[in-house]
């Protein structure tokens, strides 16, 4: 899994690519934690190139989203595709997180 960080306006965007599984989910969580430690309260996660996510990855999404929410922010997810989209739909996490079709709309939040 690779994570590239960029900034659009006042929003930090993490582009997550590859596989989020039992081995790599902790790395994703650590990257998000380090953003939170910098004082960032809202994150945009671009999953266009995430080919795989298991329940271990879902744990990380829920844990980080709850932390951001407790600080008054939120986790915005965009460009879900393939297995990742299926997994979010089956677990109804697509109704828990704000999901967006593009990075731009996630940054704006509409």
């Amino acid at each position: 899994m690779t994570i590239d960080r960029s900034q659009i306006g006042d929003k930090v965007v993490l582009h997550v690519a590859g596989r989020m599984d039992a081995e790599s989910a902790a790395y994703f969580e650590a990257q998000c934690e380090s953003c939170i430690a910098e004082g960032i309260t809202s994150l945009v996660i671009d999953l266009a190139d995430l080919s795989y996510v298991s329940s271990m990855g879902l744990r990380s999404f829920v844990a980080i989203a709850q932390k951001l929410k407790s600080k008054g922010g939120e986790l915005r997810i965009c460009r879900l595709t393939g297995l990742a989209r299926q997994v979010f739909e089956i677990t109804r996490l697509n109704q828990v997180f704000p999901l967006y079709d593009s990075v731009e709309s996630a940054v704006i939040g509409s």
């Binding site: 599984d21 081995e23 080919s51 329940s55 709850q66 089956i90 109804r92 828990v96």
Partner: protein
């Protein structure tokens, strides 16, 4: 020969996920499974192995895990994952409440739900000290 079962036995530890995934990918190629089904299969195997590390061999107990697959016909695979750890039937887990909002959602508890959603003919049995979880995956209508 089509349908001949293939087995891999490894130490039950997180580092075994990679070799097991490679092993079942070989079967998926034999079955000519589409890419999305291959990923679903990888997810099923990961969810089962994570449960084995957590519940069958808790507190660092060592043990083995055996993965067997066969290809009954193109587009389909039958699999069985066995371990000889503590008796654990993941199918007895209570279904998660998927209607909860973010603040009330537990972190975790979705693995078995994914297992039930993607696997066909999911079946658990305890046999001569082994947990045996069998299931199928099919790309056929």
């Amino acid at each position: 020969m089509p349908g001949t079962p293939q087995s891999l036995t490894l130490t039950a530890k997180p580092e075994s996920l990679g070799p097991v995934t490679e092993f079942i990918r070989k079967g998926a190629r034999e079955a000519n499974l589409p890419e999305l089904h291959v990923r679903q299969l990888e997810l099923l195997i990961e969810e089962i192995l994570v449960n084995i590390w957590r519940y069958a061999y808790p507190a660092g107990a060592s043990g083995t895990v055996m993965v067997t697959y066969s290809v009954p016909r193109p587009g389909e695979m039958d699999l069985e994952v066995g371990d000889h750890g503590m008796e654990f039937d993941p199918l007895t887990a209570a279904p998660p409440d998927l209607t909860l909002d973010l603040s009330r959602r537990p972190v975790g508890g979705l693995g078995v739900h994914l297992l039930r959603s993607f696997a066909r003919s999911l079946n658990y049995r305890r046999q001569q000290g082994w947990n045996r979880l069998s299931f199928g995956i099919s790309a056929n209508p």
